[in-house]
């Protein structure tokens, strides 16, 4: 077991990607350990989605630069369900080319129950709310029991309340399946709430990384470790910290006399 756990689910070495003359990824080194949640932050165009696509084998990459152990699955920002297949069929489709092909509808039903959508088995995707569709998309990614779940800003199109529910759901699913997760996100607070490790990608390089060791239940924004990491992550993303004036009068937006 110890040996197995030492093998990362993903190992990236000196990985470069360029489109024409534009270097999108420069010499990326990254190991993702079994069961680890890694959040990847960065400004738009920093290459974070490109890195995810490399790991998902959606783009051709050199075999020695990206090594994946086990299955991967992807959930995207948009649910990308097939509107002409029912929820049940959409999830089952992910098992079509696996050894679980024969039991795919049973497994799809189980996974949909895990994301709380047992009642929507026969529904068409267009009948779902945004949050429900994204849960189907998560179920579709998880049904194949991947060793590495790749999430490309999966919650960024959801409203704030739904997003909090989805964070909880993701953690519940992670505890049950103990898959590794690479979460690409714009949201610093989301990254700090969910990840074991936070990476900031800048101009195609991993600029900095933070390990977040606090238990997830203890990660209130007021916790010193979280607050410090938050400030540092924002700074490395180029966001200047806003100093709050405790004297500020919120009604006229001016300092009190």
């Amino acid at each position: 077991m110890a040996l197995l756990n030492d093998t990362p689910v993903a190992r990236v070495r000196s990985h470069n990607r360029s489109f024409g003359d534009t270097h999108v990824l420069r010499s990326i080194d990254l190991d993702i350990a079994d069961g680890e949640i890694v959040a990847l932050l960065g400004r738009s165009g920093c290459g974070k989605s490109t890195l995810l696509r490399s790991l998902a084998s959606l783009d051709p990459v050199k075999a020695d630069e990206v090594v994946i152990n086990g299955r991967t699955a992807v959930a995207f920002q948009e649910p990308r369900l097939l509107p002409w297949r029912t929820v049940h069929q959409n999830v089952a489709l992910a098992l079509l080319n696996t050894s679980e092909r024969k039991s795919r509808f049973d497994l799809a039903e189980q996974t949909l129950a895990e994301v709380g959508l047992s009642e929507k088995l026969g529904a068409w995707p267009l009948q779902l709310s945004g949050g429900q569709a994204q849960r189907v998309s998560l179920a579709r990614a998880l049904v194949s029991n991947p060793g590495l779940l790749l999430l490309d800003e999966p919650f960024s199109a959801l409203d704030a309340l739904t997003r909090i529910e989805m964070h909880q759901l993701l953690i519940d699913l992670w505890r049950r399946h103990s898959m590794a997760v690479l979460l690409v996100t714009h949201d610093v607070d989301e990254a700090l709430a969910l990840a074991d490790r936070v990476l900031v990608l800048d101009e195609g390089r991993i600029a900095r990384s933070w390990s977040i060791t606090l238990p997830r239940s203890d990660r209130a924004p007021s916790q010193p470790e979280i607050a410090r990491a938050r400030g540092e992550v924002l700074a490395s993303l180029g966001v200047k910290p806003v100093t709050v004036n405790p004297q500020r009068n919120p009604l006229n937006n001016q300092g009190a006399a």
Binding site: A56, L58, A73, V74, F76, E78, R80, L81, L82, P83, W84, R85, L93, A94, L96, N97, T98, W124, P125, L126, Q127, R140, S144
Partner: protein, 242 residues
């Protein structure tokens, strides 16, 4: 209430015919047309003519429709296919296909072949254009999601491309059937010794306006029927768009 005005119009028509304002050589009375229809059904003339016409449309439509569909799939799925197929198709579709009748007659004579060729030619393009547009309109992101699930090429065709292109393709199917019926009427009017068009032309020689109207009514009914069938298919196949 919508049936009131057609009944009133037919009643007025009947009165005008009975009082001699409308002469029978201009247009027969509704009662006359109805009794002629019954006669034509009973002596088998109408049934035989209709069957022959349906057969022409069916063969021509199946031929032209499947050519259009096959070309659209090849053009829609490969860049080479598109470059090879689309430019000549876009040029050919600009030809008014009824204008090809003289050529068809020179090439194929005046038997069944030129009629079926004309119907096939007409039915081919709407299915081609709409199916190609449907395939091109498929969301690349959905295809990519299918690829991320390791679906093979043929599985992506089956689960993404065909159902994704189907709504637009069914629009093409309706247009193709409409043009197929229209082409039949033109083809049968130009040269025919059987079928509904022949029945109508034959009646013209004897000023039998009642027979002409019966023939036209059957054309209309046939067109309505195929249109209803396609709309039924649309409702069944596109339930997911609810």
């Amino acid at each position: 209430m919508r049936w009131v005005s057609p009944i009133v119009i037919i009643a007025i028509w009947q009165v005008l015919s009975t009082t001699g304002v409308l002469e029978e050589t201009t247009i027969a009375s509704p009662a006359q047309i109805a009794s002629t229809a019954i006669d034509l059904v009973q002596d088998g003339t109408l049934g035989t003519a209709t069957l022959i016409s349906i057969q022409r449309v069916a063969i021509g439509f199946l031929l032209g429709g499947s050519i259009g569909l096959a070309l659209a799939i090849v053009a829609g799925l490969s860049r080479i296919g598109e470059n090879a197929i689309d430019p000549p198709m876009q040029m050919l579709r600009m030809l008014p296909h009824f204008g090809l009748i003289p050529l068809f007659i020179i090439w194929m004579g005046i038997g069944e072949q030129p009629k079926i060729a004309l119907i096939a030619m007409g039915a081919c393009f709407p299915l081609y254009l709409n199916t190609l547009a449907g395939i091109r309109g498929i969301d690349r992101k959905t295809l990519e999601a299918a690829r991320s699930m390791n679906l093979s090429w043929s599985q992506r065709i089956r689960h993404v491309v065909i159902p994704g292109a189907l709504p637009q393709s069914l629009v093409g199917l309706r247009q193709s059937l409409g043009i197929a019926w229209l082409s039949l009427i033109v083809a049968e009017t130009v040269a025919a010794d059987s079928g509904l068009g022949y029945m109508i032309n034959h009646a013209r020689d004897f000023l039998q306006t009642d027979v002409i109207v019966v023939g036209l009514a059957v054309y209309a009914l046939l067109g309505l029927t195929t249109d209803a069938v396609v709309r039924y298919l649309e409702r069944r196949a596109l339930a997911w768009r609810s």
